[in-house]
């Protein structure tokens, strides 16, 4: 018996248990039968176990080089190092589907384990929805896209992995992105459960918020790693190309971001319930759409590593999901009345509305641009492409307004803010922004759009730092030193200050995007040994090409020196790697040297023998800020998500008691707050 047989058995078992869970959970909920619900919970855990077993079986097939398994033979070879062999697990369609299903089952198990925290009435329906999605994926895996199919004769060696994927970024980017897609299922399951039971209360909101935050953070990591991978592997000097598949990954991220903001309005003010439901459903539908798009190849993309007719099944699944959710939604619509009224546009909820409009607008523009070639081909029989110039022109202004709103938001109070207070809070950031705008032309930045962009970023960064500073001052007046005050602010109000951290990260990122978009310098020159090229203050001297042959690959590199003024900065070796089975698809080895906040990006475009090379150089200012900003955003996301410690929960219990006492008299609370002040 092979490992792959074990995998097939595990998949079949998982199908059975997933279907059983759906049945038992729904029956248990309808009949109020606790034993049935509990049995469904255990069955979710069994599904997770089966999926884990199946995944281990596939991994073992890879590591033991069992080339009798078609999938293993097509995606790995004997010469590959063990880490790429393991990463080949998700190098193709079957494996990435298995990975998707595995992650979904693990998240479902995690949900079951922590289900005591979720509203009890929702739990069975959440499980049933999750297992419904899981069942679809396992059915795909056992029928049309089975990774364990064996061929009669095993080849002696496999084909190896696509060279573009043979990169350290590949080890982490696809699994994070697939996990991000998958993780939108949990909020979706909560939404379905809430609509089925009609319990759309604040408890539901709290439960769904943390899951969405987790999904958002995972998706952010996936997107940033994807950009990083593109920058380091693809060799066109950029990190985001508005490729249809990149867009598909961005879409649920945008709607989830919108949700995370509008959910705060619902939490505090009881408004926007309907809208929040729409956003949750939309996020999940878009993540399924993304999977469909990658797999169907309907829209041409750089990510066309693998596609087949499996796209049709996903399309059907997507339609079923949207129909089911819409019908439920319309059925529940009458119940979703806002609890409170809107006071003023000049308030934090007003800015949140604007934020939602912008984010959903961006999502729509991206979706529209992605689908337009298809629409155009169908309706006007005209092939056309929608590329970066379109997205830059549409998204640029929206992003600028979004960043501006991000700066104004924290300056506004809930319900309403007097204009006087707003002016007062805005004066410092606005003055700093004006200073920035005035100084930049002196430094030689005369591009008006870039200048406006930088000024907006300054405004927002100043507004956030100012807000932090004011918070610190308040605590300082309570007798804390400034560093401690900062620590306490972050420690106690994670959501709020974690959110600011994310905003600061985004500002960094936008500064990097503006820098690389407006000030990139590109040049390509064909050089002979001893010749040099000058690009934006850097001088590159070419020495010659080096050819190195290894068992499974041949590597050609050019040797160059980087000079800045009269100082030698070092040697670089941009090159190409030819893998044995993919001779016509050389992978690029791009040399990226960072000087301060500027990347010198050198790419070997063409070569001739040992003594001639065409070198393409990009000088990318501020690109490192994109990565730092991304890192800060992810840290902020994790910070928001991180569970509050038990101590805080204990305090909440105390607080509940204190809250009860408020009714009895003010003296009690006064004494209590006095105690708090001495404690703080």
């Amino acid at each position: 018996m092979y490992f792959s047989d074990l995998g097939s058995i595990a998949l079949i078992l998982a199908t059975g248990f997933a279907l059983y869970t759906m049945l038992a959970a729904v029956l248990g909920a309808v009949r109020h039968s606790q034993p049935l619900v509990r049995s469904a919970q255990r069955s979710v855990l069994v599904v997770a176990g089966c999926m884990l077993l199946a995944s281990c079986a596939l991994l073992a097939s890879f590591l033991t080089h069992d080339f009798g398994v078609n999938y293993v033979a097509q995606h790995s070879s004997l010469a590959m190092p063990w880490y790429f062999t393991s990463a080949a697990f998700y190098g193709g369609q079957e494996g990435s589907l298995l990975y998707w299903a595995l992650m979904l089952s693990l998240f479902s198990a995690l949900f079951v384990i922590t289900s005591r925290r979720a509203p009890a009435a929702l739990v069975p329906y959440v499980m049933a929805t999750l297992m419904g999605i899981e069942a679809f994926f396992i059915l795909m895996l056992t029928t049309v896209s089975n990774p364990f199919v064996r061929s009669a004769i095993a080849p002696s060696d496999g084909l190896g992995l696509n060279p573009l994927l043979m990169d350290p970024g590949m080890l982490v980017h696809p699994p994070m992105l697939l996990m991000g897609y998958m993780s939108f299922s949990v909020p979706f399951a909560f939404a379905i459960a809430a609509m089925l039971t009609g319990k759309l209360n604040s408890e539901w909101l709290r439960a769904i918020r943390r899951w969405t935050l987790a999904a958002w953070t995972i998706q952010s990591v996936g997107l940033i790693l994807g950009a990083w991978w593109a920058y380091h592997v693809l060799g066109w000097g950029g990190y985001w190309g508005w490729d249809p598949v990149e867009n598909a990954a961005l879409l649920p991220w945008l709607t989830a971001t919108a949700f995370l903001h509008s959910t705060m309005v619902q939490e505090r003010r009881g408004m926007l319930k309907v809208w929040n439901l729409v956003l949750v459903i939309l996020s999940f539908a878009l993540s399924i759409f993304g999977t469909f798009e990658v797999r169907s190849g309907v829209i041409s993309s750089v990510h066309s590593f693998a596609y087949s007719d499996i796209g049709n099944y996903f399309l059907v699944f997507l339609i079923v999901v949207i129909l089911f959710a819409s019908v439920l939604f319309c059925y529940r619509l009458p119940r979703l009345r806002p609890e409170q009224e809107f006071d003023s546009v000049v308030s934090r909820e007003g800015v949140f509305l604007l934020n939602n409009l912008l984010l959903v607008g961006m999502a729509f523009a991206t979706l529209w641009g992605t689908l337009f070639p298809l629409i155009s081909a169908v309706f006007s029989h005209q092939t056309m492409t929608v590329g970066p110039p379109f997205y830059n022109q549409v998204m640029g202004p929206l992003l600028a307004i979004l960043v501006l709103a991000m700066g104004i938001g924290p300056l506004l109070a809930w319900r309403r803010t007097s204009l006087n207070a707003l002016w007062r809070n805005m004066s410092v950031p606005v003055i700093l922004a004006a200073l920035c705008a005035a100084l930049l032309p002196l430094l030689g930045i005369t591009d008006i759009a870039a200048n406006v962009g930088f000024a907006i970023c300054t405004f927002t960064a100043a507004a956030i730092v100012y807000e932090l500073w004011r918070g610190m001052r308040v605590r300082h007046k309570h007798g804390e030193s400034y560093p401690l005050a900062l620590y306490m602010l972050f420690n106690r109000y994670r959501q709020r200050y974690g959110g600011y951290l994310v905003h600061i990260g985004l500002v960094f990122m936008v500064v990097g995007i503006i820098g690389s978009h407006y000030f990139q310098v590109q040049q390509d020159t064909t050089l002979k040994p001893g010749q040099e090229m000058n690009v934006a203050g850097y001088r590159l001297t070419y020495f010659g090409n080096i050819d190195r042959i290894e068992p499974d690959k041949e590597i050609i590199t050019s040797q160059l020196q980087i000079w800045r003024g009269s100082q030698l900065q070092g040697y670089i070796y941009p090159g190409r790697t030819f893998y044995r089975n993919y001779g016509n698809q050389p992978a690029s080895q791009i040399s990226i040297t960072t000087f301060g906040a500027t990347d010198l990006y050198v790419f070997l475009a063409a070569w001739n023998g040992a003594g001639e090379a065409t070198i393409q150089v990009f000088v990318n200012p501020l690109v490192p800020l994109v990565w730092y900003g991304g890192l800060i955003m992810v840290v902020g996301g994790i910070f928001c998500w991180w569970p509050a410690r038990r101590r805080v929960r204990g305090e909440q219990r105390v607080a509940a008691v204190a809250g009860a006492k408020v009714v009895t008299g003010r003296a009690v609370e006064l004494a209590h707050s006095g105690g708090k002040e001495s404690m703080a």
Binding site: W236, Q382, W423, S427
Partner: protein, 181 residues
């Protein structure tokens, strides 16, 4: 509190003056390199996946860049050069849809929908406000203070706002003085 308003106004005026001076100042004519780069980035490399002619290192893209350079030096306009490539390789080489015919929709639909969204937002907000009976006077009262003890005063006000917001997560933080509801 007129002062802060005037400060903001002054800063905005400075920004506006700066922006207009930047716009009105005679812009430097773009160099040949910049023009080649900008034209090439409008064109999709026909033999690559998702790369522009400007970024691609393919042989064809190299030749196309040379061709663009020749045309720029010969004094052709950006439009003429792009049109030349569109005629030769078909409409799909232009990387952003042209502002004409069916592909106008690509531009108009997002813009129209965004404007519709703004209008919808406005309508919804107006609807919400109309049905709203009482406006609580809270922040307004804070503004009726002299500027003499402004520092402390501002602090107190901010503290009130911050603590009130924080109090919703953590009741312990609530202080009697800042209780509003």
């Amino acid at each position: 509190m007129k002062r802060s308003f005037l400060l903001v106004l002054a800063a905005v005026a400075l920004l506006a003056a700066l922006a207009s001076s930047l716009i009105l100042a005679t812009p430097k004519p773009p160099t040949v390199d910049q023009r080649v780069q900008s034209i090439a980035s409008q064109l999709k490399c026909p033999v690559c996946q998702g790369e522009s002619v400007a970024d691609s290192s393919a042989q064809l893209a190299l030749q196309m860049r040379q061709r663009i350079r020749q045309d720029v030096q010969a004094g052709k306009s950006d439009q003429e050069i792009i049109q030349f490539f569109v005629d030769r390789y078909g409409a799909s080489i232009a990387w952003s849809p042209p502002w004409q015919g069916f592909s106008l929709l690509a531009w108009l639909v997002p813009i129209v929908l965004l404007l519709a969204g703004c209008w919808l937002l406005y309508a919804v907000v107006r609807e919400w406000r109309r049905s709203e009976p009482v406006v609580t006077e809270r922040v307004g009262s804070f503004d009726a203070v002299g500027s003499g003890e402004r520092e402390d005063d501002e602090l107190a006000r901010y503290r009130a706002q911050l603590e009130q917001e924080l109090a919703e997560d953590d009741v312990i933080f609530k202080r009697a003085g800042t209780e509003v509801r």
